[in-house]
């Protein structure tokens, strides 16, 4: 039995003894008051009618005795009742203590079992039938276990994504490298005309330039994936960010005689990372230019929605087949139309762009236009 329970029982017993004493005291006082009353009545009567004094005294002493007996009986009965109730209460208390102890032992055993389960790594589900501090502890351990599971999951996801990234990158680099190697071997061959040699060298330069741009994309991608890119949001106008993005792709658009126009309902100051947002938007624009035909138009629309600022990029290009809409944002995915249209591109740009928008609490989706071409919609909260 613990100290607290002993204290409780001690206090209860003291209370019991005090109650009995109080009853006895009350009974003695009642007795005294009765006797005093009888004596006073006796004296009053004697003063009025002195001849009956003996009769009065005899009478009153009889009543005094009877009242004493009655008082004693009452006090005994009350004491007995108090003792009986006290005893029953003590027994009940002891039984309850035993029950609680057993329950706590059971809960403790469950707790140990839970900890053993967690260490073994088996799945743990919540349990409601837990009481008191042990129950709270149980809940805490369950919560801790959940956190650990989440952490484990995150770690394994990170590991898997790094593995996949390395595989993907090496795969992406192999193809252009082997074609450079081929051109290079051919150039070394004797017996080539100058014209042929120049053509191989030119193709080699093209491949190298393409590989350079691919590497550039891959570096950005791997920096983003390994969380080396930290977005640095500042409150600034979106107009500048859009201009910055247009500047990045302007030359490429000009080379295909594609006109880029911007429609905006004024400037909107929102919290965003201007550098990376411009990069993301430039990727979307670049995608639009790559898959548009010459002399086409590219339209950028900026508008304020209740909760976000929306940037739309609309092109009249080759469009995206409906069944590929879900895939175009996947890393290294290239659509079937895209492959036909352009050799360039590794399927990194849109993936990177979506990541950048999502990390700022926004989103990026693509829609098919009925008349051909696509609309890309980007949201940034603000």
């Amino acid at each position: 039995m613990d100290r607290k329970s002993k204290q409780k029982i001690g206090i209860f017993l003291c209370f019991l003894v005090l109650s009995v004493l109080a009853v006895d005291l009350a009974s003695v006082m009642k007795q005294r008051a009765d006797e005093k009353l009888f004596r006073a009545q006796c004296e009053e009567l004697t003063a009025l009618y002195p001849e009956g004094k003996e009769l009065y005294e005899e009478n009153y002493s009889y009543y005094a005795e009877e009242s004493a007996g009655r008082n004693l009986k009452t006090s005994v009965i009350i004491t007995a009742v108090i003792v009986l109730f006290g005893g029953v209460a003590l027994v009940l208390y002891a039984l309850d203590m035993r029950y609680r102890k057993k329950k706590e032992e059971r809960a403790r055993d469950d707790l140990f079992e839970l900890i053993r389960d967690i260490r073994k790594g088996s799945q743990v589900s919540g349990q409601d039938a837990m009481y008191g501090e042990v129950g709270a502890l149980y809940d805490e351990i369950c919560a801790l276990e959940k956190d650990t599971q989440d952490l484990k999951k995150r770690l394994s996801e990170e590991e898997n994504s790094t593995k996949a990234l390395i595989t993907d990158i090496s795969h992406q680099l192999k193809t252009p490298l082997s074609s450079i190697k081929l051109s290079h071997d051919l150039v070394k061959e004797t017996g080539l005309s100058d014209e042929e040699r120049n053509s191989f060298i030119e193709s080699e330069s093209r491949e190298i330039a393409q590989m350079e741009s691919l590497l550039d994309e891959l570096v950005k991608l791997s920096r983003l994936e390994s969380s080396m890119i930290t977005l640095d949001p500042v409150s600034t106008g979106i107009k500048n960010t859009v201009s910055e993005a247009v500047n990045k792709v302007f030359m490429r658009a000009a080379s295909k005689h594609i006109e880029i126009s911007v429609e905006a309902d004024g400037d909107h100051v929102i919290l965003h990372d201007p550098k990376w947002t411009a990069e993301a938007l430039a990727n979307v624009l670049d995608n639009g230019i790559k898959y548009s035909f010459e002399n086409e138009k590219l339209l950028i629309r900026v508008s304020k929605l209740p909760q976000n600022v929306m940037i739309e990029v609309e092109d009249n290009g080759i469009g995206i087949p409906e069944q590929e809409l879900n895939s175009i944002f996947k890393r290294f995915y290239r659509g079937s139309n895209a492959k036909k249209m352009s050799k360039e591109g590794a399927g990194v740009g849109l993936y990177l762009a979506r990541e950048i928008f999502e990390r700022q609490g926004g989103c990026l989706i693509a829609k098919r236009k009925n008349e051909g071409g696509s609309i890309f919609r980007m949201l940034i909260p603000g």
Partner: protein, 222 residues
């Protein structure tokens, strides 16, 4: 990855004989914790029935739905009601807000029904996330469709359920508002580590999901 919802060989047929409709036909699927999953299918593909079965709103002919370790159809109907209130959040196409309660009251409603205390700070955080901090005393009839749906999202989040089931949540919204509401859902997954299963017929909005399942004639086909 930890699985939070598992559907095992679920079957629900309506009608008999020649008129039999196989709404859900031996379907199995798994949803991972902290992901945004889209179930895409045409109308009549059985996706709504599947969602109702996943949410314990109907009983299957056979099969199992396991949410957070509990096989929900082994519970009696009272226990299932309590389980649903605590572990599953719902978002419907037509919002289902209580018109006589303001935004705050609508959001805390599931907690009140469950006799749970309201953690005001948490609710403020949710209202902030859904962008309605300044509208907490507004009545539903003064809100736009997008705002109503955001209140419904807040209500689903308030009880921190194991999974939130959304049935065509943007079906009544124009395409811009749709995108805004989806961005909120997407952020909830990131910020509150919520698990969301959304059914839709719209492939475009399914793009936002981490995982997409396509359902045809009551079966998951990819």
């Amino acid at each position: 990855m930890s699985t939070i919802v598992e559907v095992k060989d679920l079957v629900k047929y309506y009608g008999k004989g020649e008129n039999i409709v196989k709404a859900v036909d031996h379907t199995s699927l798994k949803v991972e914790r902290g992901t945004f999953t889209a179930v895409v299918g045409r109308s009549g593909s059985g996706k709504s029935t599947l969602l109702q079965l996943m949410g314990g709103l109907d009983r299957p002919d056979s099969g199992e739905v396991i949410i957070d370790g509990t096989s929900i159809y082994t519970l009696n109907s009272n226990d299932l009601t309590v389980f649903r209130r605590r572990k599953i959040g719902f978002i419907f196409q037509d919002y289902n807000l209580i018109p006589s309660l303001n935004v705050w009251e609508n959001v805390v409603l599931p907690l009140g029904l469950d006799g749970r205390k309201t953690d005001e700070k948490e609710i403020e955080k949710i209202l902030d996330e859904i962008g309605l901090s300044d509208k907490k005393h507004a009545m539903p009839d003064t809100l736009s469709g997008g705002q109503k749906q955001r209140v419904a999202i807040g209500r689903a989040l308030a009880s921190y359920p194991s999974v939130i089931l959304a049935d065509e949540p943007t079906g009544n919204l124009d395409s811009r508002t749709e995108l805004e509401v989806l961005a909120v859902l997407k952020r909830c997954v990131a910020d509150f580590n919520s698990t969301i299963v959304m059914i839709t017929h719209n492939e475009t909005i399914a793009q936002m999901a981490d995982a997409v399942m396509v359902i045809e004639d009551g079966k998951v086909v990819r």
